[in-house]
Symmetry: C2
Subunit: 326 residues, 2 copies
């Protein structure tokens, strides 16, 4: 490899800001992360983001490397053309924030801004599970459920950049209310929040489960991770909760198979780390329920890049958008 | 217009075969339709299709016009590259039928085969409600519910040509079984079949409604059209049945708004002819339930080409596929 250029890529999420120095080949040279502390407001978050980027650049060996730009994958609805965070459920108070301009003015480097789930789709397509695939749907199952679309080999973001909100498909017309205002969305039935909520409800109803023990008897301590831990330790109720969420996830994936006839669905995000217990059920339900032709065509696979999908996808996005690559 | 060439375009459906002579400008010069009689088998249907095309050509004034090809929009899963009807719920017995080859051998004209809902999407995009629109979802509400996708200004058909099956999104995880084997699909809740089934059920339960009168007291006579007729005459139960189906349709459209962030959704098909009573409710529900940004961006409009959408879209498809146009 004679490529001497690199990009600083940032994944700006509701909980943490992860920054990395990445070669345009996808090789990660260094990484740093810092809490977002979104509740402190927009300016302090941008300050922490800039500090993380500065720290990455300060520690880089610039005798062999030039930094050609900054790529940012942000949780929220992004106006990619103008480099603005339009709004973000995970970054309270962020409304029409010109993040690209702020970073360019502070650091003097060309900056590229993209939605995090779209970035993750690009990352898996360019560097991960979906190399060489033309039609790929990326689904992230985490606190919420989001998605990114690669159609005809290219990122598809729709008329105003917000396409791919696959977590906000109604799956159950009579289901619980979702944070988006709709009812019965995939997100409210199969996300990490849904796993924790269901476990809390059952514990409060007096169910006997190892989840309660892991949460020190305090239902508000219950997280999706504790449910997964209990399931791994053989807890029947935890397994049942995961199986139910996986069934809903499978219904959502079947919808995507019928709508997109994709070659591949990549499932990533924190909850996806539960692994086969979740994905095997979701895959079986999806294949059973989708049309035969597209069901035979699709592969439903776990993310290969895991937490780095968005970081790497933002690099691919910056390259496609014209950042110098040599 | 100096364009002297025309295409014979055929809409091959489960009930009828509609053929038309169409200028490449979209002007329909003549039309003919004949019943499909699918139950008689594949070869007789192809025979009737060829006869309809022959009749159109025989009646054309070929002194001023050359016929440059045959375009066929067929109900079913189509292998567009090979010109094969892979299978079709509406054409029993059609399995891997090389329709393009059959027509080319019989008539000696280049033939182009496409799925009917994809064709209708192309038709509305090229000649109808969606002219100049880049991202358009076409939804046909008829006996079943199907769809076609124009993304980035181009027809999107997925990895094996079957994308756009928007009628087979699960909307109600606990809903009734759909003919596709899944449960709670949009089709089983909001199609013409669903309207008729719901009315039949309520009549059999003893409900008082004008629908029963229009059906001469025989529940099995009830069709979606009778439900619509009764609703137009002010029948409360018929209006309630349509309102419920429209609400489900609105949920499905909200899903499509969140997934595709389209500029336009065009609603066509026989049931859509019920008009504002159906579409106003569906539109209101969709806009209420979808994310604000894509909801503000999308127009939800009725088909402009109505029954000719697929006929005209097949012409656009043949042109794009390289049929001579002058």
């Amino acid at each position: 490899m004679t490529d001497q250029s690199a990009i600083v890529s940032v994944d700006l999420g509701g909980t943490k800001i992860a920054a990395a120095l990445v070669r345009t080949t996808g090789e990660i040279l260094s990484q740093k992360s810092t809490p977002t502390l979104a509740e402190e407001g927009v300016a302090p978050v941008i300050g922490r983001l800039l500090a993380a980027v500065d720290s990455i650049i300060g520690n880089a060996d610039l005798s062999h490397l030039s930094i050609s730009g900054i790529a940012v994958a942000a949780a929220g609805v992004i106006d990619t053309e103008n480099g603005t965070v339009t709004h973000s459920p995970n970054l309270p108070g962020w409304c029409e924030v010109p993040l690209k301009k702020s970073i360019e003015e502070a650091l003097g480097l060309p900056t590229f801004l993209i939605n995090d789930a779209s970035a993750a789709a690009l990352g898996e397509h360019r560097f991960g599970a979906g190399k060489g695939v033309s039609h790929l749907v990326y689904v992230t199952v985490s606190t919420g459920i989001g998605g990114g679309l690669i159609l005809g080999g290219r990122l598809y973001t729709g008329a105003s950049g917000s396409a791919g909100e696959v977590g906000h498909m109604v799956i159950d017309a009579n289901g619980p209310r979702c944070s988006c205002g709709n009812v019965g969305c995939l997100e409210v039935l199969a996300s990490g929040t849904a796993l924790a909520r269901e476990a809390q409800k059952l514990i409060q109803q007096g169910a006997s489960t190892k989840i309660a023990e892991l949460a020190n008897g305090e239902p508000s301590n219950v997280t999706a991770k504790l449910v997964a831990d209990a399931a791994r330790q053989g807890d029947a109720l935890a397994r049942e909760i995961i199986s139910q969420a996986a069934t809903y996830l499978g219904m959502g994936l079947a919808n995507l198979v019928n709508i997109f006839n994709p070659e591949m669905i990549v499932v990533g995000g924190g909850v996806a780390k539960i692994g086969d217990m979740l994905l095997d059920t979701a895959r079986r339900v999806a294949i059973e329920r989708a049309f035969r032709l597209p069901a035979q065509r699709v592969q439903i696979v776990p993310s290969r890049l895991s937490d780095n999908a968005a970081i790497l996808g933002a690099v691919a996005f910056a390259q496609a958008a014209g950042v110098p690559t040599t």
